[in-house]
């Protein structure tokens, strides 16, 4: 069964005399278990909107989103996905450990187990030793890793990530990419990942979903047949460059289609 199944989803923002934006038009997408899907496309093409629709943070105007066979709303109430935003969104009054424990607290996991799991997740993102720090004492990249640990702490089957590494420098970003892949393989989750970076999308994904703006729609889906594990060498393989070029051309074609 597909983890995410999106059928004929449309999203129109604005009603009455406000200007209307067609943020999503006729979106169809099936995501299988253990997939790593990247959404890529120009700014304003509806990537965040699609991700938030999957997460039931905004309702679609029409169409259907199923998560693990249930409506997205039921999946949210069932706490089946973890969310990571572009900014870390840490609670500044909580320590690093407290932030990672937050979802577990809300889900009524008993204190000892909660702490143990949060520590485990912090080790996974290589932040052990920072449990008692406050968010402002960490660098941007470390804060983002706390956010990832928090999203993973309750072992969701689905990880929704909205440009989580957008604010990082190139080197840190590549290291975070490798870490994310390692975590993905260790935790056996399915990932939907929004990005602006073509190499990042190719490096991480099993499939890259190319979107185009006004109206926001899917113009291409590219299989990434690089195999795993992916390492620094992966980025230097000829096939990697071919796929990068392929995604870039798909993006350009999407733009051209709009102009016509």
């Amino acid at each position: 069964m597909a983890v995410v199944s999106i059928t004929n989803v449309n999203k129109v923002f604005g009603s009455g005399n406000r200007p209307q934006t067609v943020a999503l038009k006729d979106i169809n997408l099936e995501i299988q278990p253990r997939e790593f899907i990247s959404l890529i496309g120009p700014s304003g093409c509806g990537k965040s909107t699609l991700l938030r629709t999957i997460g039931d943070l905004i309702p679609p105007s029409s169409g259907e989103v199923l998560v693990n066979g249930k409506p997205a709303h039921a999946a949210r109430l069932n706490r089946e996905y973890g969310m990571v935003f572009q900014s870390p969104v840490l609670f500044e009054w909580r320590t690093v450990l407290g932030n990672v424990e937050l979802p577990l607290e809300i889900m009524r996991v008993p204190k000892p187990e909660r702490t143990q799991r949060a520590r485990e997740m912090l080790r996974l993102v290589e932040l052990h030793g920072f449990e008692r720090h406050y968010p402002w004492q960490l660098s941007g990249g470390m804060q983002q890793r706390v956010a990832i640990a928090r999203a993973l702490s309750f072992r969701p089957q689905l990880l929704l990530m909205d440009e989580p590494f957008g604010a990082l420098d190139e080197i840190t970003r590549e290291r975070m990419n490798a870490e994310l892949l390692r975590i993905w393989q260790e935790t056996q989750t399915t990932v939907v990942f929004v990005t602006h970076s073509i190499p990042e999308a190719v490096f991480l994904s099993t499939r890259v979903v190319v979107m185009s703006a006004r109206p926001g729609r899917i113009t291409d889906i590219i299989e990434i047949d690089l195999g795993y594990p992916r390492t620094v060498e992966t980025r230097e393989m000829p096939r990697f460059f071919e796929l990068v070029t392929q995604v870039r051309e798909a993006l350009r074609k999407g733009e051209d289609m709009r102009e016509r």
Binding site: M83, V89, F91, W93, I106, W136
Partner: protein, 258 residues
């Protein structure tokens, strides 16, 4: 040890400025032969204080009590109304603009009215003024703190299917605490001003406001100055206590400022 050393170092500059200020005051007043009724030197004020300490302490206690009770009532009510308004959007939209408007009214102007409502020697007339003065800043700040939570935080909590009550407990209240403490700090000073100034319009003989007024009218200016110094100390003490509670309760915020 290190922390005590650091505190001492931090408090050295303001303490030295204060001491220099007092010394310059003393020296200038004596050197320029400024008449006592204009400005007495600090030593004379200190003497006056020792001579009249019983009366001053009694008066100061009465005034402080009005200020503290009024502060507790005003801030308490402000917080309660804020929680109600933050919970129900319709109330907020109706109440907030009004509250902000009323907050700019000089409430102390009502002091004579309160005196005639409750009777000038009834502590309630002072408590009412202080409560009114402290109510609005507390309420407005608390509403801001409860509502101005980063939207992404709320969205994140929704993604865990968090209940409204827990959104309040885990996001809104912690977010509101720094706003509330800012209000308390402002209100600590306001409450003493409110109490003393409304006593100027009439109050029991043993109250700071009445005492200062009476001594000034009898040309015993150094006594008035001594009472004012006590009022100043009370104000600073009250403010400091709130500052200390703030550090205790929300260390994460205070350290952010550093």
């Amino acid at each position: 040890m290190e922390r005590i050393g650091e505190r001492l170092r931090n408090s050295t500059p303001p303490a030295s400025v204060f001491i220099i200020f007092i010394v310059v005051w003393e020296v200038l007043v004596r050197a320029l032969n400024i008449p006592r009724f204009l400005l007495p030197p600090p030593t004379a004020i200190l003497n006056a204080f020792f001579d009249t300490s019983t009366v001053i302490f009694e008066s100061a206690f009465y005034t402080l009590r009005s200020a503290l009770i009024g502060f507790a009532v005003g801030c308490g009510a402000g917080i309660m109304v804020a929680f109600a308004t933050a919970r129900w959007v319709t109330i907020r939209e109706g109440v907030m603009p009004l509250a902000i408007a009323v907050n700019s009214v000089p409430i102390i102007a009502f002091a004579p009215l309160m005196n005639s409502w409750f009777g000038s020697t009834n502590p309630l007339s002072k408590v009412a003024i202080v409560a009114l003065i402290t109510f609005f800043p507390t309420m407005i700040n608390t509403v801001r703190g409860l509502t101005l939570v980063e939207p992404a935080k709320i969205e994140l909590l929704h993604s865990y299917a968090t209940s409204q009550l827990e959104v309040l407990l885990k996001a809104r209240i912690p977010n509101a605490l720094p706003y509330m403490f800012n209000a308390f700090k402002v209100c600590s000073t306001l409450s003493l001003i409110g109490a003393i100034v409304s006593e100027y319009f009439g109050g029991p003989r043993q109250s700071l406001g009445v005492y200062i007024l009476q001594e000034a009218q009898l040309f015993r200016f150094t006594n008035a100055w001594a009472a004012i110094a006590i009022a100043a100390l009370q104000g600073m003490g009250f403010y400091l206590i709130i500052l200390l509670i703030e550090r205790r309760l929300i260390p994460w915020h205070v350290s952010l400022e550093r």
